[in-house]
Symmetry: C2
Subunit: 215 residues, 2 copies
């Protein structure tokens, strides 16, 4: 099994974390989506949508969309409950993540770390941060009453939401107003087999630092 | 079972269509999300994310996110295959729909029909239409080799993608460059128990007509 992924991408880290916790062997092919590696003809043959992550099986079959891959990998494991209603709630949170969270939390971080400091995209940041805080408020409210997003135990909805939430600060989105989210991040980090997301490279880290200093 | 939905919303129509094809009884509570009905305190108690559709069971339990609801309703029916790989591909297309398709195809239509003709949001239309065409090109390519998005037969990924694709023209996004999509829309319309999406009301229809005339 091969994962085509960009290391500092939260969407890609979702697979790294679940595969580690499932103790499944896999090969990682580093694919720099921030610099066009998902837009080459060879890549687009496999994934016409030109995104990472992409899971490729030994026989050449391909599965894309991080949360669909999580769901497929977790089937039959403790990371996806058997109960239909709990499964539905897990999927609901995963669609929330892709529609109401990632496009704001992840994109703000991307702009801070992977665009030039004078990029016109930086004008998007205030709006993205406002919407990011709306998503975080929804999560905070849920976590006020429950420990996890995947039913009664840690699982794939937690993995999906943790991916970009725990690095929201790199997009200038502070987690300090959300104590339940901070406690949940601590619980995720304490799960057996947890592996941290690789840090952005030096260039991205420098841009992030300067973005945050600029406010 | 109660569906809280806004009739001309494609996300809400997904549920109407699947429930009709499953022949499941339900109650529809019209919820005008374009005019704040999902932002009332009473609504936000049930769905803190303030969106439609929302499925509410007799016992008060709530499920949100259109594609998660489709998946839950379709479990065990012909609209979701048993085969794990086909199920994964169906989910993959549903995440594609929510991340790479709906935010462009549906939002362009929303701006044309449900914002004022002088709304500053209309400046977003060229960019939204460009990204919409990228999504349609990915669909066209898939449909060049296969009849459906849910494995070998019509199902929930088709319902999810059809919702806004078939009314893309209302957002100024022509389907004429996509013959395979047009043929697939015809196949969807011909499925047993198909019900059409309600047309936009007179005010939205007028705005759409004037938006398209303005180019």
């Amino acid at each position: 099994m091969t994962v085509h992924g960009f290391s500092p991408s939260g969407n890609c880290h979702k697979l790294r974390l679940l595969l580690a916790q499932l103790d499944r062997p896999y090969r990682w092919v580093e694919t720099d989506s921030a610099n066009g590696a998902t837009r080459t003809p060879a890549y687009l043959v496999k994934n016409p949508n030109g995104k990472v992550p992409m899971l490729e099986l030994e026989d050449g079959r391909v599965l894309v969309e991080s949360n669909a891959i999580l769901h497929w990998l977790a089937e039959g494991s403790v990371f996806l409950p058997d109960d239909p209603w709990q499964r539905a709630q897990a999927l609901s949170w995963m669609f929330f993540e892709q529609y109401s969270h990632e496009p704001y939390v992840a994109v703000a971080r991307f702009i801070c770390g992977w665009t030039e400091l004078d990029s016109p995209r930086r004008a998007e940041l205030p709006g993205l941060r406002r919407r990011a805080h709306e998503a975080l408020a929804v999560m905070e409210r849920h976590l006020g009453g429950q420990d996890w997003f995947t039913g009664p135990a840690y699982g794939i909805a937690d993995i999906a939401l943790h991916a970009y939430t725990h690095v929201a600060g790199e997009g200038g989105i502070a987690l300090s107003p959300y104590p339940a989210i901070e406690a949940w991040c601590d619980r995720v980090r304490a799960t057996p087999g947890f592996v941290p997301m690789p840090a952005p490279d030096a260039r991205a880290a420098e841009r992030i630092a300067r973005s945050l200093a600029a406010g």
